[in-house]
Symmetry: C2
């Protein structure tokens, strides 16, 4: 069915919402620059387009969860991002939320009605 693919894509997109915040916060315990995050997340099974990541990084910084710092020593200037203490607090709470949700989903899909 022609609409099959489109519907799955749309639903997959909805599932992704929120998880990217968790993904990024989990990777920024240590400072990392944008493009390295793209690679790092790809390696961990979370593909993300730079066009999606950079706006997300800026939003998380504006929300006080990340802090950034330019490094211009190398051949290319890079913006490094690191979790703030507030970001770590939020990350831990969000991880709890995710674990509860994932547990419930696990249960739901195990026993169909």
């Amino acid at each position: 069915m022609g609409t099959d693919k489109g519907l799955i894509d749309s639903l997959r997109l909805e599932l992704r919402r929120g998880t990217l915040v968790l993904s990024v916060l989990s990777r920024t315990d240590e400072p990392k620059y944008g493009y390295a995050l793209v690679q790092s997340l790809l390696d961990m099974g979370v593909p993300i387009d730079p066009n999606t990541l950079y706006p997300l990084l800026r939003r998380l910084e504006s929300q006080g969860l990340l802090i950034s710092e330019w490094e211009t020593d190398g051949p290319k200037p890079r913006k490094y991002y690191r979790r703030t203490p507030f970001g770590t607090e939020i990350y831990r709470e969000l991880r709890n939320e995710w674990n509860q949700m994932a547990g419930a989903m696990e249960l739901l899909m195990k026993e169909e009605s």
Copy 2:
């Protein structure tokens, strides 16, 4: 911090997106009426307001994933929902998507960087 709670609520809401579709599809292998779904999902750890569920049921029906049927025998008319074959197909694919995503999130949160 005052914005803490609001931010968590907002992020939790984003995590929920998409998962409610999966939840409902997992519960409608057998016909169920709206309000019973509210109870059923609550029992499984997925609290959902009727104001959220009823619009979702109608949307899933309009997308061809569910089919409904009025039952007016009892003291109260009830609208029963059941997955269509297409809905079952989409449910299985979405479950795969979820499992992949959950696996990646598991990995991400296990080894912090």
